[in-house]
């Protein structure tokens, strides 16, 4: 509506220029101020825009008032002794319950739709092949203008994400699995009662705390450790972020695996022990293979957690989006880049901001696949022993 009211020579411009114009007018209408003096037609358009906004608010208020009045009238007329109020109330309550459960679905749809929409907008600036297969990440700034576009290559970010997650899994799988095995099979009752909740504390600590821990304690420690062995490890590196993320993930793997190991029927264990196997042999050759699908599910869930983790990597991975295979160097990840691209710059319509949604969608799809796989595996496994 606003664009149609603009002078003809301006509304005939290309969409890119039109975007700049609407942004300026929007700013004027909201009294934010713009660069350089506003032209008279711009001020006029801003005034028009403001009026449109005020009108729509007025119409909305009137509409609500009318609906409320009609509703009250309807209610008053309905009250008679023959009215089966409880049935109707219950039907309404049930409807509300359904609505509340629909919110969960709506959230998913909202996530997918909003991100797909913004991603498509992004792909109108940058072709998908360049995004998915590009090996350089250098988006520049949106203030440079549209003519001078940076490169938006996903590969270095994805490589950084994968490297950090792999390091995290290397730390968390052996530790978490051994913790689960020990607590489920060996630990005396009292140790289990203390150790299990104590380790689960790790899962409740906010990730920003891990990030800070990585930044001020683990990073410098690893750097000094590297110096003594003659390695150059930068204080914020894939290794730092990965190790701390691994610590965070230990309880995810240990708790889930613990549950699954205890679900393995006792008869299987007794059979193996009866044939003369030692306890460790029973665990390695009988219990763990039986629990393997469940454990794989737990590991996948943990991996999806690692890939989507943000604050640890924002603080401790160093934010350097270069393609490298050296875990001692700083890297950047998908999540870090989303944060970088969407904070500070409020212009949601530039490719520099829109790319965050493309990255988010990529992240969402990856974690969705991992989660669904994990859920299916875990569910199958449960059915097997129930």
């Amino acid at each position: 509506m606003m664009i149609s009211a603009l002078p003809a020579d301006i509304s005939a411009q290309s969409t890119d220029q039109l975007r700049v114009v609407t942004q300026r007018i929007n700013n004027l209408a909201n009294n934010f101020g713009v660069v350089a003096d506003a032209a008279p037609w711009e001020l006029q358009a801003a005034e028009h825009f403001r009026q449109l906004k005020a009108n729509s608010a007025l119409v909305l208020t009137a509409l609500i008032a009318v609906i409320a009045a009609v509703g009250m009238l309807f209610g008053l007329l309905k009250i008679t002794p023959a009215l089966k109020a409880r049935h109707q109330v219950e039907r309404v309550v049930k409807g509300l319950l359904v609505l509340c459960s629909a919110v969960a679905i709506l959230t998913t749809i909202g996530i997918v739709l909003s991100m797909v929409g913004e991603t498509l907008k992004f792909f109108s600036y940058v072709p998908p092949t360049e995004f998915f297969f590009g090996t350089t990440w250098n988006p520049r700034f949106s203030t440079v203008g549209v003519g001078e576009q940076g490169s938006f290559g996903l590969v270095p970010l994805l490589a950084g994400t994968m490297m950090i997650s792999a390091i995290a899994m290397l730390v968390a799988i052996p530790l978490g699995l051994m913790v689960a095995v020990y607590l489920a099979e060996y630990a005396p009752y009292r140790l289990r009662n203390i150790a299990k909740p104590a380790i689960e504390i790790l899962a409740g600590i906010p990730t920003i705390v891990y990030g800070f821990f990585a930044l001020v304690t683990v990073g410098p420690f690893l750097r000094d450790l590297g110096n003594t062995f003659g390695l150059t490890i930068s204080a914020t590196s894939a290794l730092t972020a990965g190790v701390v993320m691994g610590i965070m993930i230990i309880p995810f793997i240990s708790s889930l695996s613990d549950d699954i190991i205890t679900q393995v029927p006792k008869t299987m264990r007794d059979g193996s022990l009866g044939l003369g196997a030692t306890k460790s042999e029973t665990i390695i050759k009988v219990v763990l293979p039986a629990a393997l699908p469940g454990i794989v599910g737990a590991v996948l869930l943990a991996a999806s957690r690692a890939i989507g983790e943000t604050m640890i990597v924002v603080l401790a991975a160093g934010n350097s989006p270069a393609l490298t295979a050296n875990p001692f160097e700083a890297v950047s990840t998908v999540t870090v880049t989303i944060v970088n691209q969407l904070t500070g710059d409020n212009d949601f319509s530039s490719p520099q901001s829109l790319v965050a949604f493309a990255l988010g969608l990529t992240l969402f799809v990856i974690t969705l696949l991992l989660n669904v796989m994990a859920l299916v595996i875990v569910r199958k496994y449960r059915e097997q022993y129930e």
Partner: protein, 456 residues
């Protein structure tokens, strides 16, 4: 087990070749068993040590920051410097609005008073050679403290002409120097404090004029960039508080309602199955994705204000919803069907059976789930960064629609402050505050579970 294994050795005089092999392999197998077992114990101990390390590390860094150096000064509220008219009183024929305007004009005048001179004057009494070093003199007390003096005058103008003994926070760099968080042997050009200042601070702290005092500023003030020593958590705390309020009002009832429907009413079909998978999946979606949703839908489409706790609360509500649903469903599942059947048998409708009989029994479990969900939301940072809550806000938000930040975001902002020596400790202190809140929330949840837990 070992007894059975050793029996054949004793019964036969000379072990045959096969037996020797078995004995040798048994030794090896038992060694392996021991190794495996100690590996497991090692993993448990390492994990516990990591928990301990994390906590000890944060607490060792953060606890000193709860005490901050403050200087004890006799401030004389000199009427010559505080040259202001009488505080206006509301006249009988004056409207509230007019009075408020007059009062604001008066407060504005008070704001023009040079309160720094009051501080400088009283500092001169304890520092004999102060007159020659005026630049340093103005930097002893942190710049935010002049507002504390102003507020004293505004609250009660009768202090003018009196002398009050006050504890004023010193500059952040003085705190760093006194706590030994900076290498004192560094040359002058690398020190934050001038040589004269260091000499002053040394003598003042030896005289007991500068002392470490419990830092109320950390809890009472909002964030500050001009006066680092008085930067506090109050703004972030209120921001988090409003967000948790939104979460409690939205996520908890909606989650419970959704769980009731799915557990008690929903027909078992593919659609319900889909909803279930969807909820489980939603619980595992990375939190940053919810931030993107908030940025594009709430801010982009609905034009809600950036950086407002209401938006943060909505985003966190969507994030906590699956947690609440899953917790409530498992609680409802645990309540025996006999309760429902008894109610239905007495003629209650299904809705009445659930709302009057099942739900009251499920409340402790639901509360536990809700508290854990709120605790999770309280510690979340990433989605809040995307909806603009990392902007610097120097005031305490008065409503959920004002600009605000949140506790975890404040931690993020502080860890990035340039004055590392000072803010590393202060960030740790903020983390301690956050952890304490989470621990108490979790403690309440465990207590509730223990108190009302029923085994059917």
């Amino acid at each position: 087990m070992t007894i059975i294994a050793e029996n054949p050795i004793k019964s036969v005089a000379a072990p045959s070749q096969v037996q020797q092999k078995v004995i040798a392999s048994l030794r090896k197998r038992h060694r392996k068993e021991k190794l495996f077992r100690s590996l497991g114990l090692g993993a448990v101990l390492i994990s516990l040590a990591l928990v301990a390390l994390l906590f000890i590390n944060i607490f060792a860094k953060g606890i000193p920051a709860f005490w901050q150096s403050a200087i004890t000064l006799d401030i004389y509220f000199d009427p010559k410097i505080i040259n202001i008219p009488q505080k206006p009183l509301q006249q009988a024929d004056e409207s509230d609005n007019d009075f408020r305007q007059r009062d604001l004009a008066w407060q504005n005048q008070v704001g023009f008073v040079n309160f720094n001179r009051l501080i400088a004057d009283s500092l001169q009494k304890v520092l004999p050679d102060a007159a020659q070093h005026r630049r340093d003199l103005g930097r002893v007390v942190t710049s935010g403290e002049r507002f504390a003096l102003r507020d004293m005058v505004v609250a009660d103008p009768s202090v003018i002409g009196q002398t009050h003994t006050l504890h004023l926070l010193t500059d952040a760099n003085i705190d760093v120097w006194l706590k030994g968080n900076i290498d004192r042997s560094l040359p002058d050009n690398q020190q934050q404090l001038s040589p004269k200042m260091r000499e002053w601070v040394q003598s003042l702290s030896e005289q007991g004029i500068i002392q470490n005092r419990f830092s109320l500023a950390l809890f009472m003030n909002a964030d500050s960039r001009s006066s680092l020593a008085s930067a506090g958590l109050a703004g972030a705390f209120m921001g988090s508080f409003y967000m948790m309020l939104v979460v409690i009002v939205l996520a908890v009832p909606m989650g419970v309602a959704a769980a009731i429907y799915l557990e008690e009413f929903a027909p078992r079909n593919r659609l319900t199955d889909l909803v279930e998978v969807n909820i489980n999946n939603l619980a595992a979606v990375p939190s940053i994705v919810f931030g993107l949703l908030g940025a594009s839908v709430l801010i982009g489409w609905f034009n809600l204000p950036m950086s407002a706790p209401i938006v943060g609360g909505l985003v966190l509500s969507l994030m906590t919803l699956p947690t609440v649903i899953i917790a409530t469903r498992s609680t409802l599942k645990a309540i025996p069907p006999s309760i429902r059947q008894a109610a239905l048998g007495l003629g209650a409708s299904k809705m009445q059976a659930i709302f009057h009989h099942v739900l009251p029994l499920a409340i402790p479990g639901i509360l536990t789930g809700a508290i854990l969900g709120v605790a999770q939301a309280l510690g979340e940072t990433a989605p809040l960064l995307l909806i603009g809550m990392k902007s610097f806000v120097a005031s305490v938000p008065a409503s959920p629609f004002d600009q605000a930040t949140a506790l975890p975001v404040q931690i993020y902002l502080w860890q990035g402050n340039e004055l590392r020596n000072f803010f590393e400790a202060r960030t740790s202190a903020a983390i301690i505050v956050l952890l304490m809140m989470m621990i108490s929330l979790n403690g309440i949840a465990i207590w509730l579970r223990k108190k009302y837990e029923k085994r059917w």
